[in-house]
């Protein structure tokens, strides 16, 4: 095999391999859409996070604006501290409302941000004051059954009178 032909093929191979890596990073992965370098970190404390996981998306009006980077349990207040990094392009008012929502009926859980009306914006390290916990299905069913039962009780009492 000619030396130059071999060099050409090896060159094509190496460039194609690196190109494949770049395609994977930008087209398949999230490097093109979201970069962690340009973001700020805010914390929110939730009474119950349900099935929220690290790396879950943070959305506002359905648009992904950031990601959950860490979840911790605080023994001072006995609630969950959710740390999320939000893209620096998106600024939110200080009184932004954060709630844990579910995409679809059995989909994964994410944090929804609803902007408030404050003039000041959230800065890195700030804490979101208004939060809404995840809906836990068991609790909802339990409450529903409890309500039904007490309704039935009331009826029986009315009949007896």
């Amino acid at each position: 095999m000619q030396r130059t032909t071999m060099d050409l093929w090896v060159g094509i191979f190496v460039i194609a391999g690196i190109g494949a890596l770049l395609v994977l990073a930008f087209k398949v992965g999230n490097l093109g859409t979201y970069s962690a370098a340009d973001s700020y970190v805010v914390t929110g404390s939730f009474e119950n996070i349900g099935g929220l996981k690290v790396r879950a998306p943070v959305k506002s009006a359905g648009v992904v604006v950031g990601r959950v980077t860490d979840i911790q349990f605080s023994t001072d207040t006995f609630d969950a501290q959710v740390i999320m990094s939000i893209d620096r392009r998106y600024q939110f008012p200080k009184d932004t409302f954060a709630s844990i929502l579910t995409s679809g009926l059995i989909g994964e859980q994410y944090i929804g941000l609803a902007a408030g009306g404050d003039e000041a914006v959230l800065k890195s390290g700030d804490k979101i004051m208004k939060t809404n916990s995840a809906l836990v299905l068991e609790e909802m069913i339990g409450r529903f059954l409890f309500n039904k039962a007490s309704e039935g009780d009331g009826k029986e009492k009315a009949d007896a009178d």
Partner: protein, 265 residues
């Protein structure tokens, strides 16, 4: 009767000592290869030549298998996901399974049987025809001249081949899911980009392929260098290369996966 028991126990001990000795020999050979790779790295042309034989000539089988693996993943993923009305997640499924597991593992298995066996056979035949001994007589170190360039060529080629495998696999999944079946193109790509994380999925996959590349080529060059210099010896060494490196890939993959993807998702 006790005599036979003693012989049996002795046989077990002999085998254990033998395999430990071989493991030590292989580790020392591996260290020696790395220590003596200075010559090969200075004469980079030697490595380029070997990248051609291990990398470029493996391209066809890697690309064709990647395409078909991706297409099958697309078909099977669609079959299952459409029952739950989640057929737009087929892109996520194809990309994640390729990047995390199938890309690195299947590409490494193909690489072991396509390039690893060739390396072993070449070095073993060099030994059988006394070319390695002739080099030593001419004061040329066979480890620096023959073994090290092949080792580094394998280590360079493996991640590139696996990246090509995964990329063309995703393309195969796209062909089946979007072009053939008609899943919505926008949600195919956007759900994929939503779920695939660069640091967590892609970088971990690349780390896996680098480890596999080192393991496969180290086993291949050692088996070739260690082969008994006969026709049977070379054929046995080639078989051992494929078997040992396939087992090493699967075992290492489990260890790496349990470290990388533990308790997070």
């Amino acid at each position: 009767m006790p005599r036979r028991i003693v012989i049996g126990i002795r046989g077990v001990g002999h085998r254990v000592i033998d395999s430990i000795w071989r493991l030590g020999y292989a580790s020392r050979f591996f260290l020696l290869t790395i220590l003596k790779s200075g010559t090969g790295l200075r004469r980079f042309r030697l490595i380029i030549r070997e990248v051609y034989f291990t990398g470029v000539l493996s391209l066809i089988i890697i690309l064709v298998s990647g395409l078909f693996v991706g297409m099958v993943l697309g078909l099977q993923g669609y079959e299952t996901l459409q029952r739950y009305g989640a057929e737009s997640a087929v892109g996520t499924m194809v990309a994640l399974s390729l990047l995390r597991e199938l890309g690195p593992v299947v590409a490494a298995l193909l690489f072991a049987s396509r390039a690893g066996s060739a390396i072993t056979a070449e070095i073993g035949l060099m030994k059988a025809t006394e070319q390695l001994a002739a080099m030593e007589l001419m004061a040329v170190d066979p480890i620096a001249r023959v073994v090290a360039p092949r080792f580094w060529a394998g280590v360079i080629s493996m991640p590139l081949l696996a990246a090509l495998f995964s990329a063309i696999g995703v393309f195969g999944g796209y062909l089946v899911a979007v072009v053939l079946i008609g899943v919505d193109e926008g949600s195919f790509w956007s759900q994929m980009q939503d779920a695939v994380d660069f640091r967590y999925d892609i970088v971990n996959g690349v780390i896996k392929t680098c480890v596999f590349g080192v393991a496969v080529t180290a086993i291949a060059v050692f088996e070739g260098y260690d082969a008994s210099p006969t026709a049977e010896g070379v054929s046995g060494a080639t078989t051992r290369t494929v078997v040992t490196s396939s087992l090493a890939i699967l075992g290492l993959d489990f260890v790496l996966t349990s470290f990388m993807f533990r308790g997070m998702s």
